[in-house]
């Protein structure tokens, strides 16, 4: 099955004088279907945002292809975007930077409303959009600085919804928000996906949050997806040691203080990625075969890139909690 958004073998490469060639995304394949929420988690610097930017066409991939509704996504340039790609919209992390401070909310929302409609119908659409994100119609006459962070993020979501997208890519949409507005914005996004049968790629470093909302979770480490599975299965029975480490590092509420488990070492510089399995230097289970890059193994409805899952290699499996 190919999804609505089909990312296949995408690489994103940056060149800089100091560090040479940096492969931020080193061959990633990922599908998102209509009505589906795919969560993408990983530590900062793992390439999540680079992948998101490549997926919407903000950064041209150096290899591989992104297809949206069957058509390859063209990297953004000075030309007008093809009509089909307008159905692919993005919500960014910082709602302070994604709205123009000098234009009213209404004017900014109108930018996204299809021009084919007449003026009255377009204004109605703005009202509908504000209503959808739980804001009053009077918000249209106001400016971004008159709203709180959570409200601004809802307005940024309204802007993304204006052209009636079929797919939303949300890059850390609630990271900048407080606990109570976080829940409001997350519930709004999930509700929209369910009501409008959109697809959503939800990128976050907050594993607990992704666990809460995503149908499928993909875990990224140093430019590669190391594990991908239906969210509950991934959480219950991770098949990659990195996924296990991320889950164990989430602080839990309990009757007595219990420190979360720590993972040794730091994320390596992608310019000098380790050979073989990229997680090897930090992995508590590293063994001889890890000197070779592990293939992504199909494990029946889920996949993981770890030699421990290969029965011909493994003498041990990822230990349970």
């Amino acid at each position: 099955m190919t999804g609505l958004l089909d990312i296949s073998d995408v690489e994103v490469e940056y060149r800089s004088r100091g560090r040479g060639r940096v492969l931020a995304v080193a061959g990633v394949s990922l599908d998102v279907a209509s009505g589906q929420i795919v969560g993408l988690v990983g530590e900062s610097g793992c390439g999540k945002s680079s992948l998101a930017r490549a997926a919407v066409g903000l950064t041209p991939p150096s290899a591989g292809v992104v297809r949206f509704a069957g058509q390859p996504v063209t990297p953004l340039g000075w030309r007008r975007r093809p009509d089909t790609e307008i159905g692919l919209q993005m919500v960014f992390q910082n709602p302070y930077a994604s709205l123009n401070p000098r234009r009213t909310i209404g004017a900014q929302l109108l930018d996204g409303v299809p021009a084919a409609l007449n003026a009255a119908a377009r204004r109605d659409r703005v009202r509908e959009l504000l209503d959808r994100v739980g804001m009053p119609a009077t918000a249209a006459e106001r400016y971004p600085h008159q709203f709180s962070g959570g409200q601004r993020q809802r307005l940024a979501i309204a802007r993304a919804l204006a052209p009636q997208p079929r797919m939303i890519i949300a890059d850390e949409p609630v990271t900048a928000l407080d606990a109570s507005s976080q829940a409001q914005v997350v519930n709004l996004l999930v509700g929209l996906v369910r009501d409008l049968d959109m697809g959503m790629l939800f990128i976050s470093h907050d594993l607990a949050l992704v666990h809460e909302i995503a149908d499928v979770t993909a875990v990224m480490y140093l430019g590669r997806i190391v594990e991908s599975a239906p969210t509950r299965e991934l959480w219950r029975n991770p098949r990659h040691p990195y996924t296990r480490a991320l889950i164990d590092a989430v602080p839990r509420i309990g009757p007595t203080p219990r420190l979360p488990a720590t993972l040794a070492g730091e994320v390596p510089d992608p310019a000098n990625a380790p050979t073989g399995c990229r997680f090897r230097p930090r992995c508590p289970h590293a063994f001889a075969p890890c000197g070779d890059q592990p293939p992504t193994l199909d494990l029946g409805g889920r996949s993981a890139a770890c030699w421990l899952n290969d029965p011909t290699m493994a003498t041990a499996t990822v230990p349970a909690n």
Partner: protein
């Protein structure tokens, strides 16, 4: 034995465009020697202003009342010279953003030893020796090399470790950590929490840990305070506070967070948003957002009153609160 830090009925007002704005009301809290205490709440609830009060960093024109005693010293009566003796050597602070807290153009070594040379009057050689010890203590690999490094050469987690080392340079007895792990990844956060707990165990350091993440509060601290709109609304041992809250706001915060354990799709947002300073309703500040509010809640802000062993809550309704295991 008197607590190391003892704040009683602290109130702070800041100058606003239309007269003084009340920021903190009647805040009482204490931290014992070697204790890990948590302070939780949303942004704008007064957590950071409390920290600034305890370091004498309030903006000009701020007015305080009540008392704040640290190891016998009345902090609110200190002059500049007095504050200089407390800051660093008595109370030190770690901020949320280590990139902003470190000087980008000075080496880590220079920033670490500056404090020791001025505050502890150490000579260059012994200051450098202690700097290496400190970097080792916060688990920065290859400390001698790290001394010559600049902040941009470190990752976020390393920078926060370096900021902690700098805070510890003049041997403070209390460390105030204001959201020190909010900008970090969970794996890095786990390392910082473990580090703070180890420092407490090894050196008897007391830590006041400010966070909005109740999971972090539970994982690290033994006693906690929940702030709302500049007031302490609930306090007690962290374990019982978070597994059996008695204030509707504490329960609402718990409901709004992803649990990371069992159920999926159950984030329960708190309707509305916290009141801005000066715009709190006359009664209980949480009343407009509270699903258990009754007419009596509008009368006056409820005082913090004891409930059971070691716990207090500022709520007159005290509803039965259902809290799912999280």
């Amino acid at each position: 034995m008197a607590p190391l830090l003892d704040v009683d009925s602290l109130a702070v007002t800041l100058p606003g465009p239309r007269g003084p704005l009340p920021i903190l009301h009647d805040v009482s809290l204490s931290v014992d020697e070697g204790e890990l205490v948590g302070i939780a709440g949303e942004s704008g609830c007064g957590k950071s202003i409390t920290a600034q009060t305890l370091l004498g960093l309030l903006p000009a024109g701020a007015r305080t009342s009540g008392t704040a005693r640290f190891a016998g010293t009345d902090l609110l009566g200190l002059d500049n010279r007095g504050w200089q003796r407390i800051r660093g050597a008595g109370i030190a602070m770690v901020f949320q953003d280590p990139t902003a807290a470190l000087h980008p153009m000075l080496t880590i070594g220079r920033q670490l030893t500056e404090h020791m040379r001025v505050q502890l009057r150490m000579d260059r050689r012994s200051a450098t020796r202690r700097a290496v010890e400190l970097l080792d203590q916060v688990r920065i690999p290859d400390p001698e090399r790290a001394l010559r490094a600049y902040p941009h050469q470190f990752s976020g987690g390393m920078r926060q470790r370096a900021a902690i080392a700098i805070a510890l340079a003049a041997r403070p007895r209390l460390l105030i950590a204001d959201e020190p792990t909010t900008a970090l990844d969970v794996t890095v956060q786990a390392g910082i929490l473990t580090l703070l707990d180890r420092l407490r165990a090894e050196t008897g350091l007391a830590v006041a840990f400010i966070t909005h993440d109740l999971g972090v509060l539970s994982a690290l601290t033994t006693r906690g305070y929940v702030f709302y709109a500049g007031r302490v609304v609930e306090t007690g041992p962290t374990g019982s506070l978070l597994t059996a809250p008695t204030h509707p706001y504490t329960a609402a915060l718990l409901g709004a967070r992803p649990h990371g354990t069992q159920a999926v799709g159950t984030l329960r947002p708190i309707p509305g948003s916290p009141p801005a300073p000066g715009e709190a309703p006359p009664g209980c500040p949480f009343q407009p957002r509270c699903r258990y509010a009754e007419p009596t809640c509008g009368a006056a802000p409820p005082p913090l009153a004891p409930v059971g062993a070691d716990r207090s809550v500022a709520c007159v309704v005290r509803p039965h609160l259902e809290v799912a295991a999280r």
